[in-house]
Point group: C2
Chain length 709, copies 2
């Protein structure tokens, strides 16, 4: 709850920019400043809480706490100064707004974002060298361009002088590196002589292809190195803590020190209170393989890993209907129905229905038959869900891991609600709500995604993508921080310089975005007037377009025209930070996640658990499952047991199964990947050493090998 | 020579497209067809030669030979039909021209290109699945866009209807994936309602960022897998052949089989005739560590690796001047001069001169002082080279591995020649040749590159880049093949449809590229008329611009306007082949090369050689070298020995040193990387097994371990 509250206030603090001048939804200054003070007080409270629960010198050594304190102080000072000046009618800059993302980065809850920032910081030196070399190459090519084209009196397609001024050439060629002005910048020279194309070809090969790949290579290489190091640190830390726990709990047993069963169980109950009794019993059987009544050191150290592996307890539940109306549920027609639903033809039928639905969606909406057809499809989908719930156990159909079932059901019921709402509005008030219609359209199309899950090869790719989502949110956070800072600076620089007027407006200079300086510019001609920094939301959209890179020079030139030429530096800085660094980290992350997903096998500990499950006869035979369920609904593996799995395991009433790979996070995978590299006997370096491991040292100093007792 | 001749005829055959209709330099049909027949005959001859030297069934089993034969047959048939039809005045299509790149791919000399193609072929299935999923996502988003925006009566910036037709939406959104029409395609919807921006943001995140990264991930993953497999195959093959050689040469010696010294030497002389006696002796000492007079199996098998490691024999040559004029060369002023040149201040001085030169180049050319200054700089650079040659041994200064010395000298002397030529032309004929001036400008700027080599960190990056060059040529070949095929198809489709007129032309429709269909199109407005498929060279430049991606939709729409709408498929196909597949392979290759360069340590065999060199006291101490030469001219390591290295090794007159890492190719590095994974004892699978290793099986079946004798 504490965590949620902190996040809430962080985002409240960040979203204040929406209500402060220049605002999307204006609020009086008093309201926003009260809100800001409230947020700052909450942060201060959180910090005081930290200070109480952590050791004094640890707290003061931690740079993130210092950062938060400084940020709070700065914000308060700025707020006070701004408020006082405002009272006297002087307008100043709310510069402290750019420190707000610091709270997002530095609160302990957002460890992932901090790790990403650390990784960026560590990568910076290497990127800097490549960047300098790249700049050198850019400056050299610009010099060549100046000499080759400067005195030819050529003109661009807009009739402007072509390649006359050195700084402008550097900017134009920098834009060419991003490919945004690709053929245009070449055309005047190419028209003059075909041979000059060679200059641009050489430029693009060297700068766009080779240097940009080199940036990716450097970022990826460092990202991997630092990630591995952080995870190595965590793994050592975990092992060290487990050894300390063992030393606290150990008792002598013959020649060795061990932890007795009762104590062990007590511990597990304490640290993982929501583990079921049967699951705990299973873990004990694995740790105390020979049922000696105690757990030795080696097995004890593994406990954390054992607890981390998600073991699904497959309770062989009977369908509620089978309990309430056994005669009806067990009758021949009911059995036949359930058999049909389980049959693969059922899946195929619905795939065909989806395809037909797609055609209907694409057809014209006007014809009444088609809008009737929509009701038919909606009914068919609802029938499908009802049939599935009838056939499979409902609590398992809506299990935590049943992503697609949830997706389906939510989409269909949202569509149903929206369609009914729309129809009601239409018939009663003769009013067609555009928002609701839009939502209905989107939901209708989203239903079609289902078909992807029917094809095995697509499902594998989709699983990788779904697995990546949580860590992608980290990059969302990273992007948010960068966007916030740049949006606030952008609003200070460009606010109000460019106005948007609707197409039929007759305001002066409506076609030039309200600014005569933009007359005949590409910016005005491209009708980009709505891309401005007039409020926080618009700024975000502009920054998104700048991230996509294309036409960014048009933006840079446009905003430089309405302010001053150095304004281009803002756009170049954004390109370097966002595209060269953050997007490359994002790509590195996707590459790494993909490789890990494709290369990882089951871990040792997992194999041990699975073996034990099989030994105890409580396992689910993979082939048994496959036989019945077939390729097309592997997802529903857990419900299939009712009938045939029961034969063997129903005596105990429950079956274990290791949760399928698709629901693991990439972080967990990476952690396991590294842990496989540390031998079980290696206890790793001491606490001190771990904390002092430099983030760049790929291999820690020779780990101290202390003996068992 | 045979090899060079084959390459010559392959490129002659490919470049025939320059002279055939539509030609850059028109030649009569008879001339080009005679040349083509000549090329085909040469290929046939080469093939017959192959057939003679290889076994009958091996030759006929090899698909590449069959490919060549079919290609020759097709070309001849097509040529004959075309010639006959031409005689009767019927114009037909020379369709066989697109098979010409087959010769480049399939002749044994271009093994690298074949490997790249094999890698692409193996990657195709996986790419196809990702591509289908991507297409599904694209079609879904298009359907949503049709529903959301189709009935709003919106208009694009050009006043055309916006998002009305499903196929056009699919094309527009496909272009958005490549970011080429990034803000433009969004603006009408965004102007209508800000919320619609969310649709485009979601689209870009999913399709541009995630799917495009996924393509890179799939390509990279497969590229690495297949590369590793090919190299594994080669390594096993090598080891197997060495074992067979051992079995042929072995003699009994006590309990084991060995190869005696005399035979071993004979063998080395036979297989590596240009190895010096001393080098051979060194290798023997490594193979026969204890000087027993024979080489055992384990050492014998290593022979190929030993021979592959480039050992530089550092002959302690005296400077020619020291031999011819010892008194003068050894005199105090001469020694002082040489000392100065070796000093680091000498390097710094020239770095400063280069920087000042850069400023002068950027300044205006008109002032006479600056053109005099140019002569001064040229003189200074020439003096530098002369001084260096005076100080260091000339044959070593221009050694095979002295890239920068060669680079410097060539640039300076080319600049000298061109400048003198230009000055002569100017003073005698009052004529300023533009071509020569351009070359002079480029050479002047290129001289500045030298400064990069003075900074250690930049040198490391440059070395990686230089190392990559040879394999980059493979991608040049790959690109050439794809470009040739698409250029020939493009010429058939679009030849003559678009004309270029110089700016002051008053031809009809000069502003619409001679085609009224382009009136008001973005293509004509961007002045892209010179980008056309009217000859082979223009087509290449257009394809290059399409590879860079930006504005490709303007090209696609332009060419679709002047022919037919399905013409867009040509551009989409090119984008998929070139950008999604080949550019990604190129990026994968750069990434891999970079990682390998950064991660590889010295191999086991290399370490063994180095140890032996040190043991024999013939080594160059790394620290000794560093002491004298300092960081800034590590390159000239080999010349520094004259003075101080001699003290220890001059008795023998020669010193060995393992060639520095910078001149290794990536392929060699990869090979070593994998070989480090095979233990020395492992003899690998048998020949049959190696040849049958499927390209996808990452691990071969358990290798058969046959015993030594």
């Amino acid at each position: 709850m504490m965590r949620t509250a902190t996040y809430f206030f962080i985002f409240l603090n960040l979203s204040l920019a929406l209500f402060e001048e220049p605002a999307v939804y204006p609020l009086p200054f008093l309201a926003t400043s009260v809100l800001e003070v409230l947020c700052l007080l909450v942060f201060l409270g959180r910090l005081t809480h930290f200070a109480k629960v952590t050791l004094h010198n640890v707290f003061w050594k931690d740079t993130k706490n210092i950062c938060i304190m400084v940020a709070i102080l700065l914000s308060l000072t700025d707020l006070a100064i701004y408020g006082v000046l405002r009272l006297y009618g002087v307008r100043s800059i709310r510069w402290s707004r750019i420190v707000r993302p610091i709270f997002l980065i530095n609160f302990a809850e957002s460890r992932q974002i901090r790790r990403a920032f650390r990784s960026i910081r560590n990568t910076l030196p290497e990127i800097t060298y490549v960047f300098l070399l790249f700049m050198f190459s850019l400056l050299m090519f610009s010099l060549m361009a100046l000499k080759l084209f400067g005195e030819r009196n050529l003109q661009t397609a807009e009739g402007l002088p072509y390649f006359r001024n050195y700084l402008e050439i550097v900017f134009d060629l920098y834009v060419l590196v991003t490919t945004a002005n690709s053929p245009d910048v070449m055309m005047p020279a190419f028209d003059f002589s075909s041979w000059y194309a060679l200059f641009f070809i050489a430029f693009v090969i060297i700068n766009t292809y080779i240097f940009m790949s080199l940036f990716l290579a450097v970022v990826y290489n460092n990202y991997k190195k630092h990630l591995k190091n952080e995870i190595r640190k965590l793994a050592y830390m975990k092992r060290r803590k487990m050894i300390e726990a063992f030393n606290l709990l150990k008792e002598q047993e013959g020649e060795q020190f061990v932890v007795r069963e009762a104590r062990w169980k007590q511990l597990v109950k304490l640290v993982a209170p929501d583990t079921s009794n049967s699951h705990r019993e299973l873990l004990l059987r694995i740790s105390d393989d020979k049922q000696k009544g105690f757990v030795d050191k080696k097995s004890f150290v593994q406990l954390a890993d054992l607890l981390n592996i998600q073991v699904v307890t497959l309770k062989i539940r009977r369908h509620p209907l089978a309990r309430w109306a056994p005669a009806l549920y067990g009758s021949a027609p009911s059995r036949l129905l359930r058999g049909l639903v389980r049959h693969r033809v059922f899946v195929w039928t619905y795939d065909a229905i989806i395809l037909i639905n797609a055609v209907f969606i694409a057809l014209d909406e006007e014809s009444p038959y088609i809008s009737y057809a929509e009701w038919v499809f909606l009914a068919l989908y609802i029938v499908e869900i009802l049939l599935k719930v009838y056939t499979y156990e409902p609590r398992e159909f809506f299990g935590k891991t049943q992503f697609w079932n949830w997706f389906d059901t939510l989409i269909i019921f949202a569509a149903l609600t929206a369609t009914i709402l729309n129809a009601t509005l239409k018939s009663t008030m003769k009013y067609n709500s555009q928002q609701i219609l839009d939502i209905v359209f989107i939901l209708r199309v989203l239903r079609l995604i289902r078909i992807v899950d029917s094809i095995q090869r697509f499902r594998v790719i989709m699983n990788t993508l779904i697995n990546i989502v949580p860590t992608m949110l980290t990059f969302g956070g990273l992007t948010l921080v960068v966007y916030c800072v740049f949006a606030i600076i952008g609003m200070e620089l460009f606010h109000g310089k460019i106005q948007y007027f609707p197409a039929n407006s007759n305001a002066p200079h409506a076609l030039e975005c309200g600014n005569p300086a933009l007359k005949d510019s590409l910016f005005a001609r491209g009708k980009y007037c709505k891309n401005n920094f007039n409020n926080f939301a618009s700024s975000f959209i502009v920054l998104m377009e700048l991230t996509v890179v294309n036409q960014w020079h048009v933006f840079a030139n446009g905003f430089a025209n309405v302010t001053a030429q150095p304004a281009k530096l803002y756009f170049i800085a954004f390109h370097i930070v966002m595209v060269i660094i953050i997007v490359n980290i994002f790509v590195s992350f996707i590459l790494e996640a993909f490789f890990v997903e494709y290369s990882l096998e089951k871990s040792e500990v997992e194999t041990a658990i699975e073996q034990k499950i099989q030994e105890l006869g409580m396992g689910v035979q993979e082939d048994e499952l496959q036989h019945e369920q077939l390729l097309d609904n592997m997802e529903s593996a857990e419900h299939e047991l009712e009938g045939e799995g029961g034969a063997k395991a129903q005596s105990k009433g429950l079956v274990f199964k290791i949760a399928s790979k698709r629901y693991r996070t990439v972080d967990a995978l990476l952690q396991r990947m590294f842990e496989a590299e540390i031998p079980l006997e290696d206890e790793g370096p001491s606490f001190e050493e771990i904390l002092n491991l430099s983030p760049t040292s790929a291999v820690p100093r020779s780990p101290s090998s202390e003996s068992g007792a």
